[in-house]
């Protein structure tokens, strides 16, 4: 191992989407019979690299060689034909088809009269499953299968396609301990048969027990490749986060006042467990962790979107029970969701209307809204936030991502909430506007608003937060004050295996 020539090699790959550079300098080489880990923070460019391998994206430039020949895939089918199979965290099976049909869709074995023979198909499926050392009924509908079983089906499909390169994009994120073990057994036996496996994961214990080499990425670029045996967790974390926290984050000192939110023992089956969070007036509290750690779910529960199984939420000294978002808003809570296009803005409505959406009651007299008063309120707030648009009558969809986010923030600032929950406030926003969003959050805190900020970006967390809760796999694994927090500490807590597993 390690001596043979790579079956796949990608060098200097670059991919941009408009002005956003998703991948600047992607590099990976996979050797037959090895399991290769790819690690990096959220947004390091791992998924873009995977999508290039899968044939979903084609790189703007770079060298891509598979089995000794340069390739440029025009689609998923070409990548598959070249022997690459990708298994995603959430596999895309057809829920209405049977297990065996999901494996053989489009190439079902035929029997008499050129008709599909279910017998032959199930037989072939059973053979594949036997090879993988698992048993599952081939006749069962895929609907309702666990994620682990769905991944196994994807692997069986890959094997039946004679895949030589298997890419697994965070396959273990949704698996239990026993399921992870089964997956690893399968992966090891495939490796021993000469398959090259690219394994993406955030769990260092898995990476160190399973893989042969590790490639680190940061900010869209290749950093380094190590033999797993010759490196350490500390070294890898250092390389993942190693970058300066620039003066991008103009954190203003704010007086910290009384407690506005106290969450204790909050649990929701399968989402998060025993969450304790406190936020005071004027404080920016960050909920850090990796995507899928359960942070958004906690925020939705606090705001009253999703029900909880146990625990309590006390807001301004009053316990909220079975509250709805409408009640939360009238109590003085605000929520800026992650997906502002879907949940934060009414894209088809004019910018003006979006700003005044939460103000309707205040502006209205006799149940009607005087257009002049609406216009004035909208102008005040968009000016304050420096939203760049010539005409507030245009629809919100015409704004850039950063300006859309400012409109969403304007909407909430206008109602002067006591607590504002923001979920990934700067995702997909260019650097300049990011700083403005940070300035806004900071000045909100100065005015005495408690801010609960969910963020996957370490610099943002470290630069903005007074206090940090780090979540991993549905639990809070660490609480850090501003002074004790460091990128390494947050990353280590975010990748810590949850207590359950």
């Amino acid at each position: 191992m390690g001596s043979s020539a790579p079956v796949l090699s990608l060098q200097g790959a670059r991919k941009t989407f408009g002005a956003v550079v998703a991948l600047d300098n992607g590099q990976i080489d996979l050797i037959p019979g090895e399991i290769h880990a790819l690690v990096g923070e959220n947004g390091a460019g791992k998924s873009t690299l995977v999508k290039i391998l899968a044939g979903v994206h084609s790189p703007d430039k770079g060298e891509f060689v598979v089995k000794g020949a340069p390739v440029s895939f025009k689609g998923v089918a070409e990548s598959k034909a070249a022997g690459i199979s990708v298994i995603y965290q959430e596999p895309t099976l057809f829920p209405d088809l049977t297990v065996s049909e999901n494996i053989f869709v489009g190439r079902q074995p035929k029997g008499a009269l050129g008709l599909i023979s279910r017998k032959l198909m199930n037989q072939a499926t059973n053979e594949l499953f036997a090879k993988l050392g698992i048993s599952m009924s081939p006749d069962r509908r895929a609907d309702g299968l666990s994620i682990a079983d769905q991944q196994i089906i994807e692997i069986a499909k890959a094997i039946s396609l004679d895949a030589e390169i298997l890419v697994m994009d965070e396959p273990t994120a949704a698996l239990s301990g026993a399921e992870v073990e089964r997956l690893f057994t399968v992966a090891r036996s495939l490796r021993d048969q000469g398959v090259a496996i690219l394994f993406i994961s955030h769990r260092f214990d898995e990476i160190f027990s399973l893989t042969d080499r590790i490639t680190v990425m940061r900010d869209g670029s290749y950093v380094s490749t190590h033999k797993t045996k010759e490196t350490s967790e500390t070294q890898i974390i250092k390389e993942m986060v190693g970058r300066d926290i620039s003066a991008l984050f103009p954190k203003l000192e704010a007086a910290i006042g009384e407690k506005v939110l106290e969450v204790s023992g909050l649990s929701s089956l399968g989402k998060f467990n025993n969450i304790d969070i406190q936020v005071s007036a004027g404080e920016i509290v960050s909920l850090a962790g990796l995507v899928g750690a359960g942070r958004t779910e906690v925020a939705r529960a606090i705001f009253g979107i999703d029900p909880i199984d146990s625990g309590s939420i006390t807001f301004l000294g009053k316990e909220l029970r079975k509250h709805t978002p409408t009640q939360s808003i009238s109590e003085g809570m605000g929520f800026v969701p992650e997906d502002r296009r879907k949940q934060g803005l009414v894209l088809e409505l004019p910018i003006r209307r979006n700003v005044t959406l939460t103000l309707i009651k205040k502006l209205a007299s006799f149940g009607l809204i005087p257009p002049k008063r609406e216009r004035e309120a909208a102008e005040t707030w968009t000016k304050k936030l420096q939203v760049k648009s010539e005409n507030l009558g245009r629809s919100a969809s015409t704004l850039s991502g950063g300006n859309q986010q400012k409109v969403v923030l304007a909407k909430w600032m206008a109602v002067k909430p006591r607590l504002l929950i923001v979920d990934e406030p700067t995702r997909g926003i260019d650097v300049g506007t990011k700083a403005e969003v940070h300035r806004l959050l900071s000045s909100l805190a100065q005015e005495g608003v408690g801010v609960l900020m969910i963020s996957s970006e370490l610099p943002e967390v470290l630069g903005m937060a007074d206090r940090i809760y780090v979540m991993s796999e549905g639990r809070i694994t660490q609480e850090l004050s501003r002074s004790e927090a460091s990128a390494e500490k947050v990353m280590a807590a975010a990748t810590a295996k949850g207590v359950k597993a």
Partner: protein, 340 residues
């Protein structure tokens, strides 16, 4: 989570359970109960002539339901079938008047081709231009009906203007089955085999199950959807020919509103309205149930006004049953994930 290698007893139990879980079971049971209860109250309900009428009534709707099934399984809908049937039916009447000597098979081919061409227009707009089928076929429902109106005006052709042999197709029986019913059975069985046993047929389930994933798998989604509409059109054309054989007149209003009966039959027959599952056999039983229920409500002397309400309740229960079982599966899935 894995099923252990099953002992033979477990295997029998498993296959019995699978049959019981089949989506056709509720509608088939409902049909059997309906016939049994009606026959108990009014024994004449099962007299030979009455049974023959039941079959004739179901024939045309069942053919349309077979075409509609493939469309709905692919997560589309074809609301224009009534209008296509109308044009085909009036064309048949016109052909017999213009060419009294025309061979009957040629009439069948003409009706089917007319339907297929109209269906191809639907298919082009839905699969190639990618406009939602609900909108397109709602539009063509009116456009095709408009063409029929403009063409027929006040003209109606009656059964006396067609050869006796053509009308006899709906009268004469082989082994107790009317000839047009046998034709419908052939259509249903071939469609059933196509959808369950041909690779391209199975593609429709994949498309309806997850259209985006189907594209990723390299399934030719547009081609398949186009073909589904052509097939639905061709079967509507065939239904138009049979309509001209079965009923006394064809004109501008032939087949008006029949599309709703067809969609109802398909849904009641266990085809999921959002695609991905269901069978042609189920849809045909749905057609049989819906057409029989009217006769049986008459036979047990239920007020005409209540008959439509009963049909409505039937549609709603079919969808509720479907929804409840989907929710149950989702809850099961959530349970499995939460013990992660």
């Amino acid at each position: 989570m894995n099923s252990k290698p099953a002992s033979s007893l477990e295997r029998v139990k498993e296959s019995v359970m699978r049959i019981l879980r089949t989506r056709e079971i509720p509608v088939a049971t409902a049909f059997v109960v309906l016939v049994a209860v009606t026959a108990f109250v009014n024994p004449r309900f099962l007299a030979p002539q009455s049974v023959k009428d039941l079959m004739l009534n179901a024939t045309i709707i069942a053919i349309l339901a077979a075409g509609q099934s493939i469309v709905i399984i692919s997560r589309n809908v074809d609301l224009s079938v009534g209008s296509m049937l109308g044009i085909s039916g009036f064309a048949v009447g016109t052909l017999f008047v213009a060419f009294p000597e025309i061979p009957i098979p040629l009439v069948f081919v003409s009706g089917i081709v007319i339907g297929a061409v109209l269906g191809a227009a639907n298919g082009f707009l839905v699969a190639i231009i990618k406009v939602p089928s609900l909108v397109i076929t709602l539009g063509t429902l009116y456009v095709f009906r408009g063409i029929n109106n403009a063409w027929a005006g006040g003209t109606e052709y009656f059964s006396g203007q067609r050869p006796k042999e053509f009308g006899d197709l709906s009268v004469e029986t082989i082994y107790g089955l009317p000839i047009i019913t046998i034709m419908a059975l052939v259509v249903i069985v071939s469609m059933g085999i196509f959808l369950s046993r041909a690779r391209s047929g199975r593609d429709y389930y994949a498309i309806g199950s997850d259209p985006a994933a189907a594209e990723l798998f390299g399934i030719p989604v547009a081609k398949r959807v186009f073909f589904a509409f052509v097939l639905s059109g061709a079967l509507a054309g065939l239904a138009g020919v049979l309509w001209a054989s079965r009923f006394s007149s064809v004109g501008a209003r032939t087949g008006l509103g029949v599309e709703l009966d067809v969609v109802a039959a398909v849904v009641v027959g266990g085809v999921a309205i959002f695609g991905g599952s269901g069978t042609v056999i189920g849809a045909s039983i749905g057609a049989l149930l819906l057409t029989t229920i009217t006769s049986s409500l008459t036979a047990v002397q239920v007020d005409k006004f209540w008959q439509q309400a009963v049909v409505g309740v039937l549609i709603i229960s079919a969808i509720v049953i479907d929804r409840v079982s989907a929710l149950r599966a989702a809850r099961k899935r959530k349970g499995e994930r939460s013990n992660v």
